[in-house]
């Protein structure tokens, strides 16, 4: 066999070539290519998210408005499920159909066989108690603790807003958020999201192939604890808020009350409202759908987003502008014979003695008087546009027609037309004080939110300035005014001395004028009624007020849609709220009862909402 001896080298060469190929491959896999190291980490490390509890929300007296309730996400690791898994039993435990089970299970399987994914979201503590007793029978399933918001007072729904899961869009925009995180979607929950959310923690565990924890990775070197969100104390008076909502039941409208000395919002009411507990957890999207289809628009926050003309309440502002501009003195008298006539047209007025001075004009809400005042403000400038611009500046300085800067999302600017607006309709130079005369009595194009109106009242109560309205009082015990530089004193441009006359007149309105239904014994309430023309139906009833006359503690604006005269609904409600806030007692139970029983929306709410689970 000598002739084949050289073949031993061929065989040796084959061995060596294979050995060499293996070494090259091993060098590539182990040293050059790094993605296997990452895969190994993914295999063995599980990051368990420790969700922080959101900050609690209190009212100004420390009453709890929003707290957290434990909820449970049922998680599943498809690969860890045993062969003898009793699907029927499990479905009946969860109260879920077989089809639904299969659907969710397949979804989890498609996500990953080895990684946990959410099987059932946000199970309430009550349901969890039952499931938890049986869960050990079903390896592969476990729960992750979450928290859900709960609202013990069931009040101030629009203001506190609600919390939901961070949407893919949000996650893309803000890299803090991960899928499954909760985020404030509206109201305070949204505006103070960064304060309330706290900080997520994590625990890095090592797990085996069945996802069984095998201890902490590097003795917990990468673990962080969850930090709870900061607690928030609001400026809101929960009792006042709830009382206002109660008075407004079966009515549409809005109430905003401010402490004028600080700009703190005491109540922010939008009616109809809803129980904030409806927009929590698993029921949220279903209930949201129902609420958003309700024709009464309970989700719409009228206090910040509805735009009403101010009506006659605006006459106080026109008076103040006239005084500051020097075209009006307390003794200026104008006659009124059922209205104001100009160029063959007439602005009507109700019957009252004539002529009237400033004080009586407010007291009796004389239209003709303010037509005269408005015209003299505009017309003592060379052109109507110049005069209008001066007037407009005063109006906006009262915080009207622009955002008040309140610490809540989605505030409407309101509307005071720019001169250009009238140029468009009447051509430049072709419009005059008479063209826009309805502004004199707070009608026409003007549109202010109830929030802006309350703020305007605060400026009158303060005799010339207002503090930026705000709703947060303290964050974790620290006063918000100590660090929030957006809360400032805003001047109206009308000197304090001009206010006395108007304030006195407003006092008379309540004492013996159109607003006597807001009168409270031995309390000096100043107010002004308004009837807002409504082309769509009955006029809106409105009232602005503050009290006491000296060192005011509360400024309030009330809108009751389709309530007709201000004296009919808005004024008594304002009076009751002022008394409730300042005295904590109600001395006029009959008026209170009439307000409670008043129904301006026809039938009671029609929608049936599922309560809880």
């Amino acid at each position: 066999m000598k002739q084949y001896e050289s073949r031993q080298f061929t065989i040796g060469a084959i061995f060596l070539v294979v050995g060499l190929i293996f070494l090259i491959r091993l060098f590539y896999v182990q040293v050059i290519d790094s993605h296997y190291k990452l895969d190994a980490t993914n295999n063995v490390l599980r990051t368990v998210v420790k969700y922080p509890a959101r900050g609690l929300i209190y009212d100004r007296h420390g009453e709890l408005l929003v707290y957290n309730e434990a909820a449970y996400d049922l998680m599943v690791v498809p690969k860890a499920i045993k062969e003898d898994f009793d699907t029927t039993e499990f479905c009946s435990l969860l109260g879920m159909s077989r089809k639904e089970f299969d659907q969710r299970f397949n979804k989890a399987k498609n996500y990953s066989q080895y990684k946990a994914s959410i099987f059932e979201k946000e199970i309430s503590a009550k349901s969890y108690a039952i499931i938890q007793e049986q869960l050990f029978n079903y390896p592969g399933f476990f729960v992750q603790t979450r928290t859900l918001r709960s609202y013990p007072k069931k009040t101030a729904a629009h203001m506190v807003g609600y919390v939901g899961e961070a949407s893919p869009k949000v996650i893309k925009k803000d890299n803090y958020y991960k899928s499954g995180d909760h985020i404030g979607i509206s109201g305070i929950e949204k505006h103070y999201e960064k304060v309330l959310r706290g900080k997520r923690g994590q625990e890095v565990q090592m797990v085996d192939v069945f996802n069984r924890p095998k201890g902490k990775f590097q003795d917990g070197a990468f673990d962080t604890t969850a930090v709870s969100g900061s607690n928030l104390k609001l400026t809101i008076d929960a009792d006042l808020q709830a009382y206002g909502e109660k008075l407004m039941q079966n009515k549409k409208g809005s109430i905003v009350a401010i402490d004028p000395s600080t700009g703190e919002i005491l109540a922010l009411i939008s009616m109809p409202t809803y129980d904030p507990n409806l927009l929590v957890g698993r029921q949220r999207s279903k209930n949201y759908g129902k609420l958003s289809q309700d024709t009464l628009k309970p989700l719409f926050n009228r206090a910040l987003m509805a735009k009403y003309p101010p009506g006659s309440t605006f006459k106080s502002i026109n008076a103040l502008i006239g005084l500051q501009e020097g075209v009006l003195t307390p003794n200026t008298r104008y006659s009124c014979n059922r209205g104001y006539r100009f160029g063959g047209r007439k602005m009507g007025c109700h019957p009252h003695p004539s002529p009237v001075n400033l004080e009586y004009s407010i007291q009796t809400s004389c239209n003709a008087y303010y037509c005269n005042v408005f015209r003299s403000v505009i017309d003592h400038y060379p052109t109507a546009e110049e005069g209008y611009n001066v007037w407009r500046t005063y109006v906006t300085n009262f915080g009207l027609g622009k955002k008040t800067g309140i610490d809540l999302p989605n505030e409407l600017s309101g509307f005071v037309p720019e001169p250009a607006y009238y140029d468009r309709y009447y051509l430049k130079g072709k419009w005059h004080s008479t063209t826009i005369l309805s502004l004199a009595i707070g009608q026409g194009e003007l549109g202010f939110t109830p929030m802006q109106m309350a703020n305007m009242v605060a400026a009158i109560a303060n005799r010339g300035y207002y503090i930026t309205p705000h709703i947060a009082k303290e964050i974790n015990g620290q006063l918000i005014t100590d660090f929030d530089s957006t809360i400032v004193r805003n001047k109206t441009g009308v000197e304090a001395k001009y206010f006395n006359e108007v304030v006195e007149a407003m006092y008379k309105v309540v004492e013996q004028g159109t607003g006597t239904s807001a009168k409270i014994d031995s309390l000096q309430v100043c107010g002004k009624t308004g009837t807002v023309e409504n082309p769509h139906g009955d006029d809106h009833s409105t009232f602005i007020a503050f009290a006491p006359k000296d060192n005011p503690k509360i400024a309030i604006s009330v809108y009751v849609e389709n309530g007709y005269w201000g004296s009919r609904w808005a004024a008594p409600i304002a009076g009751l709220l002022i008394e409730e806030y300042l005295r904590d007692t109600i001395t006029r139970p009959l008026i209170e009862q009439r307000m409670l029983e008043g129904n301006l929306i026809g039938t009671p709410p029609k929608v049936v909402i599922d309560e809880g689970e």
């Binding site: 066999m1 002739q3 084949y4 001896e5 073949r7 031993q8 061929t10 065989i11 040796g12 084959i14 061995f15 060596l16 294979v18 050995g19 190929i21 293996f22 070494l23 491959r25 091993l26 060098f27 896999v29 182990q30 040293v31 290519d33 993605h35 296997y36 190291k37 895969d39 190994a40 980490t41 295999n43 063995v44 066989q113 080895y114 090592m206 797990v207 085996d208 192939v209 069945f210 095998k214």
Partner: protein
């Protein structure tokens, strides 16, 4: 006279040392693969490392007994041993225990014996005895057929046990036949066949758009390419005799192979086998299905890096991400915990062992010992090739053990017998006339 003194002098201690190193490294890695804080005693026979220690001890005794047996025993009783093992293989088919779809075990008490691990040795012995007979020429057809029968019978029996991996090992003997004079064309044909097989599988599902709106499947495309190649071969060699016949035969054979691969793949191979081959070739990617083993194995080995994670610190193997980690995928533990350095050492150890056996073969006076030695080398080589190859994604996942490393008594005994019989033959080589 053969004294124990001369035996000790003549034993190839170098090979024996490699054997010891491999066994020790193997056991350490089985310990690591099974390692669990709960069971600390290395002698705990409820754990695999404890049992393996038992197997190692008995393998040592077997090795010593073999060294004491007269070398002529193996050449004399070669056929008898072969016959006995064949009988065992038949018996296991009738009364054997089934594990994972393969009926290849005798269950005796708490232990299991796998006859196929010993049939390699017996076949090697019988083949060596047959080919070393005087006046045997590899070029004779009769010789080829007889050799094929000796190799084929146990292979077919093992195939019937549903243990495809172990059956494939017998293919390794082609290298022995080659060394003894089988035409190199057989190796070439084997390689070409394998190449065509793979390339057909890769392209069979592709569809090519041709001019005149003709659609060609990958298979037909390959046949056209083959036609062009053989046409060129004919054109450049057209002066040579019978070149037309040669090119035609090659073309027809290759085309037939291409067309039949699809059939073989879909009708002869078991679904799990064809799937594994597909995954290995990158035709199918299925990290949590058939490709799971290879993927996890690569992750374990790849995550070891250059220096490894340290002994007993491998997370992928420790937490069971790698399947069969103490048997077929033992190399993952080495790769993960010892890194490239460890992998290099293991590959180098096997290379040294294989080349040492080849060297020992070249110094044998008797054809019997030489042929047997080649058998030993090629069997080790094939196990090395497939086992490590599959863990690093270069070979299909065929469950055969890594010699001396993988957990398992039968395989350890089988490989020990295989190696030590050759060491014994080598030690006694000077006494052969």
């Amino acid at each position: 006279m053969r004294g124990s003194k001369s035996l000790i002098d003549n034993i190839d201690w170098f090979t024996v040392s490699i054997y010891f190193v491999l066994i020790l490294a193997g056991w350490l890695n089985i310990y690591a693969a099974v390692y669990n804080e709960e069971f600390e005693s290395i002698f705990d026979t409820t754990q695999r490392y404890g049992k393996q220690l038992l197997w190692i001890g008995t393998a040592g005794i077997i090795a010593i007994i073999i060294l004491l047996i007269d070398e002529r025993f193996f050449s004399t009783f070669g056929y008898l041993i072969y016959g006995f093992v064949i009988a065992l293989l038949i018996a296991v088919l009738l009364v054997g225990a089934a594990t994972k779809g393969a009926t290849s075990w005798f269950a005796i008490g708490g232990f299991k014996i796998q006859p196929s691990e010993f049939s390699k040795f017996a076949t090697c012995l019988a083949l060596a005895k047959y080919l070393s007979t005087l006046n045997i020429r590899m070029t004779d057809l009769k010789t080829k057929l007889n050799a094929a029968a000796i190799i084929g019978i146990p292979a077919v029996l093992i195939l019937m046990q549903n243990d495809t991996g172990s059956a494939l090992v017998y293919g390794a003997f082609v290298l022995v036949l080659f060394r003894e004079g089988l035409s190199g064309n057989f190796l070439l044909i084997g390689l070409v066949t394998a190449f065509l097989f793979v390339i057909t599988l890769v392209f069979q599902n592709d569809v090519y758009q041709m001019p005149f709106e003709i659609e060609l499947t990958g298979g037909w495309m390959l046949i056209i390419i083959l036609f062009i190649i053989m046409g060129l071969v004919y054109y450049f060699n057209r002066k040579r005799k019978q070149i037309l016949l040669f090119s035609t035969i090659v073309f027809v054979a290759c085309s037939g192979l291409v067309k039949s691969v699809d059939y073989v793949f879909n009708n002869i191979l078991e679904p799990h086998q064809s799937k594994r081959i597909n995954v290995m070739l990158g035709i199918e990617s299925d990290p949590y299905g058939a490709g799971y083993n290879v993927n996890q194995s690569l992750i374990a080995i790849g995550s070891g890096g250059f220096t490894g994670k340290g002994y007993l610190k491998g997370t992928q193997t420790k937490y069971d991400f790698v399947p069969e980690q103490s048997t077929d995928f033992i190399f993952c533990t080495i790769g993960e915990e010892w890194g490239f350095i460890g992998s290099f050492a293991v590959v180098a150890l096997f290379m040294t062992l294989l080349l040492r056996i080849l060297f020992m073969c070249s110094r044998q006076r008797s054809a019997f010992a030489r042929i047997y030695g080649y058998g030993v080398a090629t069997i080790f080589f094939f196990h090395f090739l497939i086992n490590i190859g599959m863990t690093i994604g270069l070979a299909p996942v065929i469950g055969i053990p890594l010699p001396f490393f993988s957990y398992g008594g039968s395989s350890l005994w089988g490989f020990t017998i295989l190696l030590f019989v050759f060491i014994k033959m080598d030690a006694d080589r000077l006494e052969v006339l």
